[in-house]
Amino acid sequence: MDTSVKYVRGPTTHDRTFLEEVIAQTPVDDPRLAYCVQCGTCGGSCPSGADMDYSPRELFAMIDANMREEVLSSNTPWYCVSCYYCMVRCPQDVHITDVMYTLKRMAVREGFSHESNAKDAPDFSETFIDFVENYGRSFELGLATLYHLRHHPLNAVRMATGMGFDLFRKGRMNLLPTRIENIDQLKAILAEAKAIGGNGDANL
């Protein structure tokens, strides 16, 4: 679909508005976000909305107003639990959950992701990804250990002695990660995917 300038409303500081950038980097959403009618159904449906700096509706108005820094340094995308309630209820069919993922990626790329009270969330994702990239499978024990030791050492102790130990005792935790057979193939695919523009403007 043509994403040219016909729905631009806010003042333009770059070649494209912030709104256009967000739309360009959100697969398939194009250009529904521009049609947000500010009804607030998203915020009203959101299970973690009360803990967000701005409700999704507010955030979309801020995107439209080119408030780049405020949007990208808010905790709202990081507090999205990906439950898709807003998305099935949105009367304009905005792919809200996907927009939140786009905002997270932009925040990480532009260095805003440590501004909010969800500042550890990107590191959790990155630790998770490290295991996937090296083994092809996720690894709960390694993930929990590395992430908590880095960010919440006290939590690591609490988990190792409490719930973590219980799960281990019940045989629900692996001590070593599993590696897939054709890990080289996966690595080649992911390397190529990154070269194509995993973090750049996806222009989808």
Partner: protein, 328 residues
């Protein structure tokens, strides 16, 4: 005999091994065969897409490509984990909708000698194939020891009913397929308005208070409606509700002790498998006291009192409260 390609997902390898084991036992009773996709990789959960876009879709793309390659007769691909199911289904759907995304993902897959044609793999959730492909009648015929008297809160979570791409098999907000399934095996299904609400996913690791709030809502809702057991269909839901129940009790000063079992474990019990075979005891909140509620005969339906003709109609609960007060 129906055959499916099977994508277990990382959780079913260990943390949710009982889900896999109970499923394999139940599959035999229902004449289902699952062929595991060889050398599948992690679906990326909700993490990969947070950092990288094209690699996240390429990661899922590899699984779809492998499933398509190994799939001889156009079999459907079944995922028992809701997050895996969603990622597979969503990637397939978005690749079909966005030629640009499809081109880039396939360019990446080509680096590994793979190709995926969107739409060539039909992704289904386990609940969907048991309730629709197998059907309630066949399930009923496999029942040997009905779970009479066991009060179950069927918990669907988010990702198998939402988002709606090409029509889901159940309602996005008030699904009922597992309710019917649990009644089919003789159990009593309690009203559970929170049945499709979120368990908090990875928020337990990022902002525990947010997650505990969501888990508390779910546990309270199930307990308020008299459930003995919550039936789960996703390893993430099971883990959050089971392993964090203690943390919820500490945080909110509550005293919840409600076991969370996979729906396949409950099916297996009804099909006559023993508790040990069904992995009962691997949950952190012990299910055995609740399972002792299973009766040999169905409970007699409670007769409703005919409302008095002289009084104003009142909701039943208020009438009960009033009669209690009178007795005092």
């Amino acid at each position: 005999m129906q055959t499916y390609s099977y994508y277990p997902g990382c959780a079913l390898e260990r943390n949710a091994a009982v889900y896999h084991d109970s499923l394999m036992a139940v599959a035999e009773s229902l004449d289902l065969t699952f062929t595991e996709v060889a050398d599948w990789n992690c679906c990326g959960a909700t993490e990969y897409i947070t950092i990288d876009l094209i690699p996240a879709y390429a990661l899922v793309g590899r699984n779809l490509a492998l499933a398509a390659e190994q799939n001889c007769n156009g079999r459907s691909l079944v995922a028992p984990c809701s997050a895996c199911f969603l990622n597979l289904k969503k990637a397939d759907h978005y690749l079909a909708q966005s030629p640009e995304l499809n081109r880039k993902v396939n360019q990446a897959l080509a680096a590994g000698g793979l190709h995926y044609e969107p739409g060539s793999v039909h992704v289904k959730h386990l609940l969907e194939i048991i309730t629709e492909d197998v059907g309630f009648e066949k399930v009923a015929r496999a029942v040997k020891r009905p779970l009479f008297g066991l009060k179950i809160a069927p918990y669907y979570g988010c990702l198998i009913v939402r988002p709606v791409f090409d029509g889901t098999f159940d309602d996005a907000e008030q699904p009922t397929s597992m309710d019917t399934l649990m009644r089919t095996i003789g159990a009593e299904v309690v009203d559970f308005p929170a049945k499709a609400q979120c368990c908090g996913g990875h928020m337990t690791q990022i902002s525990e208070a947010v997650a505990l709030h969501l888990i508390h809502q779910l546990l309270k809702n199930a307990v308020d409606h008299g459930a003995d057991v919550i039936a789960a269909i996703c390893p993430m839901c099971q883990l959050n509700l089971d392993a964090y129940q203690d943390a919820v009790n500490k945080h909110y000063g509550t005293n919840f002790h409600i076991p969370i079992l996979y729906f396949t474990q409950l099916l297996g019990l009804a099909f006559g498998f023993g508790e040990a075979t069904m992995g009962i005891g691997q949950e952190l909140v012990d299910a055995r006291p609740a399972l002792a509620n299973i009766q040999v005969k169905p409970l007699k339906p409670v007769k409703r009192k005919r409302p008095s003709k002289t009084e104003l109609p009142m909701p039943p609960k208020l009438q009960e409260v009033r009669s209690c007060l009178k007795n005092e």
